[in-house]
Structure formats: structure tokens, C-alpha cells
């Protein structure tokens, strides 16, 4: 993906993360091993940061325009948020899940790199561009984590070991993610008003972003009313993430989205 070897960086990140996870899992209370593991994971994340900064300087514009570039950010936030959740709630399983998910996106970038050029068309040259995309990527990364938790939830449900703490954790993450989702939506509306005089034109991406927003809204309201229900909230959470994925890259292939201003450039 880069002028110098992006593949080398990805392999380094993978080795750091695999080493880190190994150390964490064999540490069994040994503080030194645990710290080496965590430092190794952070090392991998720093390499992503380095790569983003490098691209930013090299391309002479924020690297948030192509699908490949957004995947890079996604893997960064996914791994970082996974780490934060580990520190906050001490769930060790979140690390292999979020890191393998983040790794998958890096791998995709390696196999299918997007073509880069440094031009930024005039409509994208706006102070709203960076906040709009960044808050969305944070929201997507957080919601990706809730999807992973919901898979874990379904698994535990079948084994009869489900613990309601899991859904409470989802609630907290969904609340934070939902606030980012709302901000992304509003920044986009303010930007659109400034660019062509209307907040909302029901562009296909906007339509799907709105559907995504509504489905997480449904989750929040359903959870408030049915505090002990388990299956339906897990179902809504997974369904919402499928809608999110449709919104994120599914619309690039949809008939209804041929003229969208949001379709990623290749």
C-alpha cells in the first residue's frame, strides 16, 4: 500500500500481536510476561499509527478517502478500543477477537490495495471532512466490538453460561458509539448544507446511514423497556451490524446507489 513495503509493516504488526497474545495467555498472573504481552500489542498498534502518519505526509492529504485507507483507520480503532475495553473490564477474550478482526482488515488492504493518488476533489475540501469520517470510523469500530460480544453472547447462551453483564457492557459501548454515530450524521448534514444548500438529500449512503442509526436506536429503546430479555437484543445487535456493513460498503454495489456522492473512489 505504501512506497516502502506495506507488507513488511503488516507482517511486523501480526508478529507483534501474536507474540503479545501468546504472552498474555501463558502469563497466568506473571506480571512481567503480561506486561511484555501488552507492550507487544501496543507496539503493533503504534506501527499502524506510524503507517497512517506516513501515508498522510506522503499523500499530502488525510488518508481517509479510499476504502483501503478507511480500513487502515478501522483496524487502528478496533485494536485500540479492544485494548481500552480490556483495561476497563479485564475481559481477556476481547483482545484476540478485536485484534484478529483488525488483522483481517490489514490483510484485506494487503491483498486488495486501493490505488492512491494525492488529489482531493473540491467538494471534499472542507473542514468537516476529517471530523465527519473519523467519528464514523470510531463508531463503526465500537459497534464492530458489540457485534463480536453479541456472537460471544449467542455462544454462551447455547452453553447455558450467559451472563447479563455482557449485555450491560454492550449497552455502554452502544451508547458511546451511538453518540459518535449521531455526531457523524450531524457533521455530514452541516457539511452538506455548506456544500450544496441542503442538509439531507436522501442520497443512498445517507438513507442507509439513517437506517443504521434507527436500528441502534431500536436496540437502545428495546433494552430500556425489556431489561431481562436476552435473545432479541442480541438479535437486534447482530442485525444492526449487518445493516451497518451494507451501509459501509454494500451500497457500492447497489442498484439504488448508482449516483451516490458517497461511493468510495477506486
Amino acid at each position: 500500500m505504501n512506497i516502502f513495503s506495506f507488507s513488511l509493516i503488516v507482517y511486523c504488526i501480526f508478529s507483534f500481536w501474536v507474540l503479545g497474545l501468546l504472552m498474555l495467555f501463558i502469563s497466568k498472573g506473571n506480571a512481567t510476561l503480561k506486561n511484555i504481552g501488552l507492550i507487544s500489542i501496543i507496539g503493533g498498534i503504534s506501527l499502524i499509527v506510524f503507517n497512517i502518519i506516513y501515508l498522510w505526509i506522503y499523500l499530502n492529504r488525510p488518508p481517509i478517502r479510499t476504502l483501503g485507507e478507511t480500513r487502515l483507520w478501522y483496524s487502528f480503532f478496533l485494536s485500540t478500543i479492544g485494548l481500552i475495553i480490556y483495561f476497563r473490564w479485564k475481559y481477556i477474550w476481547i483482545l484476540p477477537l478485536s485484534l484478529s478482526f483488525a488483522g483481517l482488515f490489514l490483510l484485506l488492504d494487503l491483498v486488495k490495495p486501493a490505488i492512491f493518488d494525492q488529489t482531493l476533489m473540491p467538494a471534499l475540501q472542507s473542514p468537516w471532512f476529517i471530523p465527519h469520517v473519523i467519528v464514523y470510523i470510531i463508531a463503526y469500530a465500537l459497534l464492530g466490538i458489540t457485534m463480536l460480544i453479541s456472537i460471544k453472547g449467542v455462544f454462551l447462551l447455547y452453553k447455558g453460561k450467559f451472563n447479563n453483564d455482557l449485555l450491560m457492557m454492550c449497552d455502554n459501548i452502544v451508547y458511546i458509539a451511538f453518540s459518535f454515530l449521531t455526531m457523524g450524521l450531524l457533521f455530514g448534514a452541516l457539511w452538506a448544507k455548506n456544500a450544496w444548500g441542503s442538509y439531507w438529500t436522501w442520497d443512498p449512503k445517507e438513507t442507509w446511514a439513517f437506517i443504521t442509526w434507527m436500528s441502534y436506536l431500536l436496540y437502545i429503546h428495546y433494552r430500556n423497556y425489556h431489561k431481562t430479555a436476552v435473545k432479541i437484543p442480541l438479535f437486534i445487535l447482530s442485525l444492526s451490524f449487518i445493516i451497518l456493513l451494507l451501509c459501509w460498503f454494500g451500497i457500492n454495489y447497489m442498484a439504488a446507489a448508482q449516483n451516490s456522492v458517497h461511493v468510495y473512489s477506486n
Partner: protein, 414 residues
């Protein structure tokens, strides 16, 4: 959908208060059905937004009605309107409608006639959309009044999120009918106070615009190596970024080292050579020297991306590939204009994409230009918009932003 909630612990006979999911969904989807039928009977004619002052009257009546009934009517129906089952039914039915919009191409005749007839190809201007939006506004309204007291931080965040959304939805959709959106094409050195609306109706503005100059700034053009047979760009393995043409630069492209010995941003051709010229219609050109790393074979010549006036020029380097130039991508469109207002004030502005100006309640946007002429276009097209409700919508957006920041800060459990 009812199946989804059959495990609800609160099962009882239908239509006996308090109403729960069953009643909520019957009402919500019933309203949707009524909307489709209305649309069918009006032959897919659609619904047009009310205009001033009718939209204000509707808005105020809605607010007064909700507040009045909340405080003075104790019927369980009012309680139901502010309940979560009603809210969930409204969210689901509204999302269903928007989902249809996500799958069916909008504002386009659909090959299936019934889709056009019940308004599914113009959902935002259809009866079902209007009715469901109203249902959503009413339920959201009662949800807000229900949680006005006690005044505390949690209820304040609740208020900001719900009332903010209410203000945005209500003023955004009711105000839409008052938006005037005009197009003004204008030639350089000319002055005009006329613009056209969607139906090509002429409209006189309270001010006139003189276009002093329209210009396009461009990025340097890219140089490409491409196959003669298919015209496809051959990408360099290690470098995915297409190289830019800059005078004096040496570029490695596959088996060739390319030296750009001369680059003109603007030039004219004469006797198959290019010379610098800034006259109208000038085209970018470059003189390149390509050396094959294996055979030391040298090829040199002019390349140009061409424009409406001049042809493209390639350099064929062997029987399979050629070197060419891509048209430079636009960096900035800008129009320098002078505005003459009704009170005889003249002022000069520059309008760019993402940088509109506001004159006497109208916003002027850079919309388009004569794309065939490219940077030499002498025509600029402005979009001129009057949106009298924008302050109300912004107010709602700010409320929602405050609400979402509070949501982020507090989370659900502490």
C-alpha cells in the same frame, strides 16, 4: 413483527388499556397501509409540503396540542403515545419505509407500475411518508413531555436528544416547502438578477450578480504507462500512486526511466512542438525522454492530455506500450463576483465549492461551469438558495449535538 415480541411478559387482551406492542404495531402499520391507499387513490400524485404560513400553523398547533393534552387530558391513550411500545412501533415502521427507499431507486419510473402508484419511487413526497412522519413526531412529542420533570442532569440529556430530534425533524420537513432553489448560469463580464427554478420558471432576485472571473486551479497532471491494445494503465508494483508531471523529474515506469525535460502547464502546438502560451484554450504538455533500462533504447517526444481545442498526444515507446498524460484533476473552482444589492451597495466576493456566501437572506453556491471548456470556461453556474427555516434546524442540530456528547460522557451505567 408481532412474533418478535410474543415473549413479552405483559400479555393481555387486545385493545384494553394500557396498550402494548400488538396495538402499537396494528396502529403503526395500519397508518402505513392508509398512506399507501391514499397514494394509490391519488394515482401516485404525491404530497407537496405546506408553505408559509400554513407550515408554521401546523407546527404550532402540534406543539400546543401535545403540551395541552399532556397536562390536561388523563386518558390512557395519551399515556400510550408516550410509551416505549409506541416509540418502538414508530421507529420500526419509519425504518421499514426508509428501508424500501434504500432498495428502490428513487425519483425514477419503476418498471413495476404498482411501485410508482403507491409512491414507492418517490417516498419522501408520498402520503405514507407524511403520515408516518407525523406519527413519529406525535409519539416523540409525548415522550418529551413525559420526561420534563424532575429537572436533573439525566432528564436534561434525555430532553436534548429527544427534543433536538423533534426540532430537526419538524422544522426540517415542515420548512422544506419554503425552500427556494434556483440556478443561475452567468457569462464572464455580465450582470444578471434572473435565475431559474426546477421547472425553468424565471425568477427575479432582489440583487444582481456580476461575474468578474471564473477560474479553475488544477493539480499537476499524472503520467501513465499504458497498453496500446487495451488502453489500460500499467501500474507499478511498488508504487500505486500515479506519478505527477513536474519539470526536471525522473520517473521509473516498469522497464523505462522517464525524464521530464520540459513541462508547460499551458501551451499551444505549432509544427508538432509545444510553446508556452496563456491564451484561452491552452493545454498542458510535456517533453519526455524515455530510456529502456535493459536495451538502452531511447525514445523522446511530446505528450499532452488534450482539451476541447487540441488533440491528445502520446509517445509510443515500443510495440506494446505508450506513455501518455491524464487530464489534470481540478483542485479548486472559484468565481469572483460583484453583488449589487437593492440598497445600492456594491461588494466583491469569491465563491468556491464549500464556501458559499450569504446575501440578503440568500445563499449563493458555486454549482457548475462549462465542463467541455474546462479551465477556460467563461460560464459559471450558481445555485441560489433561500431557506428561511435554517436557524430553527441549526438550533435542533446543536441540541442534538449537546445531547449526544452527554450520552457519550455518561454512558448507560456508571
Amino acid at each position: 413483527m408481532n412474533n418478535l415480541f410474543k415473549n413479552s411478559p405483559l400479555r393481555k387482551k387486545t385493545w384494553i388499556f394500557p396498550w402494548k406492542y400488538k396495538e402499537s404495531f396494528v396502529i403503526a402499520f395500519g397508518l402505513l397501509l392508509i398512506g399507501f391507499l391514499l397514494e394509490l387513490f391519488s394515482n401516485g400524485g404525491g404530497f407537496y409540503s405546506p408553505t408559509w404560513p400554513n407550515n408554521l400553523i401546523i407546527l404550532l398547533s402540534l406543539v400546543v396540542y401535545i403540551i395541552f393534552t399532556h397536562f390536561f387530558v388523563t386518558h390512557p391513550l395519551i399515556k400510550w403515545l408516550g410509551s416505549i411500545p409506541a416509540a418502538i412501533s414508530a421507529i420500526i415502521v419509519f425504518t421499514t419505509l426508509i428501508l424500501l427507499m434504500g432498495f428502490i431507486p428513487q425519483n425514477k419510473e419503476n418498471s413495476i407500475t404498482i411501485i410508482n402508484k403507491i409512491g414507492l419511487n418517490h417516498i419522501t413526497q408520498s402520503f405514507p411518508y407524511v403520515i408516518i412522519s407525523f406519527y413519529l413526531l406525535i409519539i416523540l412529542g409525548y415522550t418529551i413531555t413525559k420526561r420534563l420533570y424532575p429537572i436533573n442532569l439525566k432528564n436534561f440529556a434525555f430532553f436534548m436528544n429527544h427534543a433536538g430530534l423533534w426540532v430537526v425533524l419538524a422544522t426540517g420537513s415542515l420548512g422544506a416547502g419554503d425552500i427556494v432553489r434556483l440556478i443561475m448560469p452567468i457569462q464572464e463580464k455580465q450582470t444578471s438578477k434572473y435565475a431559474y427554478d426546477n421547472n425553468n420558471k424565471l425568477f427575479q432576485l432582489p440583487f444582481s450578480i456580476e461575474l468578474i472571473d471564473f477560474s479553475i486551479d488544477e493539480y499537476p497532471p499524472n503520467i501513465i504507462l499504458a497498453g496500446i491494445a487495451d488502453g489500460k494503465i500499467i501500474a507499478n508494483k511498488d508504487k500505486q500512486k500515479l506519478p505527477e508531471i513536474i519539470q526536471g523529474k525522473t520517473i521509473k515506469m516498469k522497464d523505462w526511466i522517464v525524464y521530464i525535460s520540459k513541462y508547460y502547464e499551458m501551451s499551444y502546438i505549432s509544427d508538432s512542438s509545444y510553446y508556452f502560451s496563456s491564451d484561452s484554450g491552452a493545454v498542458p504538455s510535456a517533453y519526455i525522454i524515455a530510456t529502456n533500462v535493459f536495451t538502452n533504447q531511447i525514445k523522446e517526444g511530446w505528450i499532452s492530455c488534450g482539451n476541447y481545442k487540441f488533440q491528445k498526444n502520446y509517445l509510443i515507446i515500443d510495440n506494446k506500450v505508450f506513455i501518455g498524460m491524464l487530464e489534470p484533476p481540478a483542485k479548486k473552482f472559484s468565481s469572483k463576483i460583484k453583488i449589487y444589492t437593492s440598497d445600492k451597495i456594491e461588494k466583491i466576493y469569491t465563491i468556491e465549492v464549500n464556501k458559499p456566501i450569504r446575501v440578503e437572506g440568500w445563499e449563493i453556491y458555486q454549482s457548475s461551469y462549462d465542463s467541455a471548456m474546462g479551465r477556460w470556461s467563461t460560464i459559471s453556474v450558481f445555485e441560489i438558495v433561500k431557506d428561511s427555516w435554517y436557524k430553527a434546524v441549526y438550533f435542533g442540530i446543536v441540541m442534538l449535538l449537546i445531547g449526544s456528547i452527554m450520552l457519550f460522557w455518561h454512558g448507560k451505567y456508571r
